[in-house]
Amino acid sequence: MADKKYSKKHEWVELDGDIATIGITKHATEQLGDIVFTEVPDAGKAFEAGGEAAVVESVKAASDVYSPISGEVTENNQAIVSDPSLVNQDPEGNGWFFKVKVTNADQINELMTKDEYDKFLTESA
């Protein structure tokens, strides 16, 4: 499994073969605060890179989660639907949102590495 890649909209992608797992970053969860509701896309739904794919809500506000990569949803994480706080507890692990079968694996190269993302956060702070 390859290292995680990161988007400017604070999603992470982990590519394993042609299946990408997508979630939101630890930084995103820290900004959102307590997550109380999530909505994940059904299997079979297709997205272009940058398309609105899921919803995450904190006490304060609702935010869209975008798919940083094009593909068709193969699976969603029902665990974060029944217990949204899982996203706060383990955002880059058990708090994943959905998996897609990617249509263009090269898109992953347009995303940031962990170091690049950390630098992006420092610069945009």
Partner: protein, 369 residues
Amino acid sequence: MNEAATKITELKTALYSFHVEHGGKMVPFAGYQMPVQYPEGIVKEHQHVRNAAGIFDVSHMGQFSIYGTELDYLPLEKIVPIDLKSLKLNQSKYSVLMNKEGGIDDDLIVTKVEGGLNIVLNAACKHHDVSRIHEVIDAGKTKLHDDLSLIALQGPKAVEILNGLIPGVQDLVFMNGASFKFKGTDIYVTRSGYTGEDGFEVSIHNSLAEEFCKTLLNNNNVKMIGLGARDSLRLEAGLCLYGHDLDNKTSPIEASLSWALSKKNKEEGNFLGSEVVGEQIKNGVSKKRVGIKPEKIIAREGSKIFKDNKEIGVVTSGGFGPSVGGPVAMGYVLKEFSNEGESLELEVRGKRHGAVVYKMPFYKKSYVK
């Protein structure tokens, strides 16, 4: 307003540095830099207030006094329809500042004190309110206090904790106040709040505000609470937020706040906007504020409300209620759909979701009467 301008005009309460020291995440709110939350987060803060006690800095709110006798302050009834003659010394009443169209310019709390009235106004409205009040009250007999902080201690343990510091506050009943001393200086304490819990609001000189909070925080049951939890607590309690659930185009009857106008004033119809209010009392209103319990989805302010594919209203406050363990909302619906138990649909992100009209509060209050 652009960001630079916002920063220049934002004010700080006397507790600003104290909030920052305690990890408060400061955000612009009603022209002030206020803490929206502390490091533990909104849900934990909310639950702490329901289970123990929390401190809220509400010093951004306007603390206004009218000095003098009945003769001086009775004209206030023309714009704030409460029976000031029957208000007892140290008694507080919730009411509204009316405009001539029958709308609400602000909601406020009036307390009769020795030498006049104290009025607490919403931060975003306070300067407008003061100019409105000066239309009926001699400006020379009034003061908007910028030397005073307002600190609320709310929660089931508030009484025991505050009484340990300010002996005697335990004898106050809900919506009553009295003068006390802290470090030899006068403070005014009322038993009131905006959380649905028992608690107090303490008006204290700015120079003592930090020391007062520090002393309270020595008790492990006390935590600092931000505006985020203040909002979820008041929403669960079914209390209105001005500018959202109330505005200058909505009448107190539509807002289900008929109880905030005195019987005497309603009968005499002697206040600004009373023709509109009187007509609505007689013939009914077309829309009404109600509590709404969504089945699953969080519907926020602005979500449209439908019944049988017909748009019948809008959500004015909505979010997640940590003590309810699910979404809660309030909004305005056409009168015929305002009965408890009426099933509705709320539009969220383009889809309709089930909800019911719910009798507020969503969370049962425990005020001391």
